[in-house]
């Protein structure tokens, strides 16, 4: 039941769901949520390896913690950008933010 592969499959699935969310959502917050999901997928992967493979489980846990911290920082920044974008463009629809068009 809880062999390594199932966990890997689940984290891959989580990651892909997050990916779908990022690719097709049109408003930034949706994308942010999907990114959180992807990060969790990765975290799950680490913990799975930690549980089944690594010589000492501490390493995986430390990395998981680091990723959580990172995700928190990323969410903070993401949200403030969304706010700034909203104030400037009065909408957070990603397709309008095309100032970088070549």
């Amino acid at each position: 039941m809880n062999s390594l592969n199932t966990y890997l499959i689940i984290s891959a699935f989580l990651f892909s769901i997050g990916l779908v969310g990022v690719l097709q959502r049109r408003n930034l917050i949706g994308m942010l949520i999907s990114v959180e999901l992807m990060l969790n997928g990765a975290n799950l992967n680490f913990m799975a390896f930690n549980r089944f493979l690594t010589p000492e489980p501490v390493v995986g846990q430390i990395i998981a913690l680091a990723i959580m911290g990172l995700a928190a920082a990323e969410a903070a920044i993401g949200l403030s950008i969304i706010l700034a974008l909203y104030r400037k463009m009065h909408s957070i629809n990603i397709e309008q933010a095309q100032r970088l068009k070549g």
Binding site: N2, Q24, R26, M47, R51
Partner: protein
Amino acid sequence: MDTSSSLTALAQAAFWITIGFTITGACIAVFARNILYNVLGLALALTGVAGIYLFLGSLFIALMQLLIYVGAICIAIVFAIMLSRPLHLDTPPRPMPKVVMAVAASAVFFIGLAGVALKTKWVPAIERSTDYSVVTIGHMFLTRYELVFEVISLVLLVAIIGAIITAGFSRRLSS
């Protein structure tokens, strides 16, 4: 004997239930039209993941997960939703080709990932200690992996300052 087998069956069932929770939460978070439902879906998925961590044997990480993700990040997102008021904005219809492409790309990616995961022969390390206690985590964090600790704190600091500035400046501009 059957109690242990029923116990394992119970654990098995609980395991699949948590996975079910995570998956449904993820789907709600991604496919729901209303942004609020997305956030709630996300919270559900994250608690599901915390449950899985339990099954992976590290209680501390599960709790931290609940604390950081569900507690802090989802709340922050809710704040963002309130501030940017997307609700009453018109949500233009989602172009079908974009969704199809997204799903197709992710499907390809998933199959690739799953294939890699299944195909490689994972070799567990020779001698493995099963010490999951928080003490060792704390000890190791401050001795051998001290750099991770420093870096993550620095990142958080920078993130906070960055958030204040980007949010703060834009307010002065728009007000």
